[in-house]
């Protein structure tokens, strides 16, 4: 599903975020990505989503070599990926419902079927009663769940979450982990990054540990 082959990412200015990294993630796997901030977790996720391009090496997603795609083609790759951002990236000028509608608008889903999908996604994360609210009135945990609803509403085959439980207390964080687990159970490939390893260890899944852009042993 996801394959890294000797991937190096160097940012302008010389900062090497990933150094000669090779690994693969099977379809339907649920994998954790651990490491301190600055270890390269976010960069790794951005490479999979085609938001950044590898400096050298190849990144294969769904058997497509992302470095060989034009940026217009990367958009289509991204349409099959659900992204949960550390900073939510919620749009505050529209309702909860319209935020979740955005990915369906982008892939051009029929509006009536789309409304059902949006409600289903909101129901899944427990925000169904708040669909008409503006996002500013949601708590931090609710905003994170809104972001998750938006990431899964178009039923992506890959779900990437960058520190989804950061800034949340443990009870909320566990809630969110359970959500990801349920998406994994319906067949999605899930990759979750966190700097707090205690949460991951309870799940007994594969953990990729990064330190300064390399595997930490």
């Amino acid at each position: 599903m996801i394959q890294f082959d000797q991937v190096t990412k160097r940012y302008p200015g010389g900062n090497e975020a990933l150094k000669n990294l090779s690994f693969s993630i099977e379809s339907g796997e649920m994998v954790f990505l651990a490491g301190h901030s600055g270890a390269g977790k976010s960069t790794l996720l951005k490479l999979i989503a085609g938001i950044e391009r590898a400096t050298s090496g190849s990144v294969l997603v769904n058997n497509q070599n992302l470095s060989k795609l034009r940026s217009s083609q990367l958009s289509f790759v991204r349409q099959h990926i659900g992204l949960v951002f550390q900073d939510h990236k919620i749009l505050y000028d529209r309702t909860v419902f319209d935020n979740v509608m955005l990915p369906l608008d982008i892939i051009g889903f029929d509006r009536r079927d789309a409304a059902k999908r949006v409600r289903a996604a909101l129901d899944k994360v427990g925000l169904l009663g708040k669909e008409k609210m503006m996002p500013v009135r949601l708590s931090g945990g609710e905003q994170q769940r809104l972001c998750i609803a938006r990431a899964v509403v178009h039923r992506p085959t890959i779900l990437l979450a960058d520190e989804p439980s950061a800034n949340l207390d443990r009870a909320y964080a566990l809630d969110i982990m359970e959500l990801f687990k349920s998406f994994h159970q319906v067949g999605a490939t899930v990759l979750i990054s966190a700097h707090d390893e205690t949460l991951m260890e309870d799940y007994g899944r594969r953990i990729i540990r990064l330190r300064e852009g390399q595997f930490a042993s």
Partner: protein, 302 residues
């Protein structure tokens, strides 16, 4: 395919409601755009009406063919048939030498003049109205006509026609110049409006790009915004010209009456209105395309 139209319909209606949702800002923009359109349009109307008037003017350049004194009926008939078939002649009338003498007597109060003359000194003549007012063509026509058999001279007032034509031509060139300048202004104004829109919605654009929006998906609402702006501005500009015509025509008619002329401004006809709307929409979308192309590249997600 249905999906394709659905997406476009959605963008178009969204863009329209976006314009309505900011009535004040939109109105300011529309006024700016419609003034840029109304100025050259008004001038165009004036030139058009002037040309129409020049065309109808009783003193439209005329060429008078004076026949040789010895011309016979057969010669007259030959010239007559040449004139009838000529493509560059709109009309002509024949003035016989008897008729000419009678006219002269009447006009100048010289009754009895004919009695005092031994014979009629006036020749037969054809008064020809050419189909063109373009000086060069007129000159060609004059040369051609003077070469006809038994025609002594072909005469016309070239300097007058040249002056009139020059005036209309200058006005037309001025219109083209103004339309070009203001067309560019229209592109720049929409470019700027759309640029502001993009900056105001940069969060939305960034997020949309992150979750897989193509450039054309992001560009589409802005292009439709520009499209509606162009169409609405053209409609307002059309309204302004109608107002100008309604306001100016009574005064112009009254003034022209003093000179016994029937002059008035002619409103735009339907094809012209459609052309203006189409052109305005096109220019606005062109400006928007420039703005989106430039700024979407800068808003690549990080």
């Amino acid at each position: 395919m249905k999906h394709f139209f659905y997406l476009h319909w959605q963008s178009a209606s969204n863009a329209f409601t976006r314009i309505l949702r900011q009535p004040f800002g939109s109105l300011l923009n529309l006024v700016m755009l419609s003034v840029a359109l109304a100025l050259p349009l008004s001038l165009y109307l004036c030139v058009n009406s002037l040309q129409d008037w020049v065309g109808r003017l009783s003193a439209t350049p005329q060429i008078t063919l004076f026949m040789e004194m010895s011309a016979e009926d057969a010669d007259l008939a030959a010239v007559n048939s040449t004139l009838r078939k000529h493509p560059r002649i709109k009309g002509y009338r024949f003035v016989s030498r008897q008729q000419a003498l009678k006219d002269m007597e009447n006009r100048n109060g010289l009754s009895g003049l004919a009695d005092g003359l031994e014979s009629n000194p006036l020749p037969d003549a054809f008064i020809v109205t050419p189909a063109t007012i373009e000086p060069h063509e007129l000159e060609m026509l004059q040369k051609e006509l003077s070469g006809l058999p038994m025609v002594e001279t072909a005469q016309f007032d070239a300097s007058w026609a040249k002056r009139l034509y020059g005036m209309v031509d200058l006005a037309r060139k001025l219109t083209v110049f103004l339309a070009t300048i203001l067309g560019i202004a229209l592109i720049l104004i929409t470019h700027n409006t759309i640029r502001m829109q993009i900056l105001a919605r940069r969060d939305e654009i960034e997020v949309a790009k992150l979750i897989g929006a193509t450039d054309s998906f992001i560009r589409r609402p802005f292009l439709y915004h520009a499209f509606w702006q162009g169409v609405l501005a053209a409609l307002i500009a059309w309204g302004l010209t109608c107002w100008l015509v309604a306001m100016a025509n009574p005064a112009i008619t009254e003034f022209a009456m003093l000179y016994n002329e029937r002059v008035n401004l002619i409103s735009l006809n339907a094809p012209e209105v459609l052309a203006v709307i189409g052109l305005a929409a096109f220019l606005a979308m062109f400006g928007a395309r420039l703005a989106t192309g430039h700024h979407l590249r800068q808003l690549e997600p990080r």
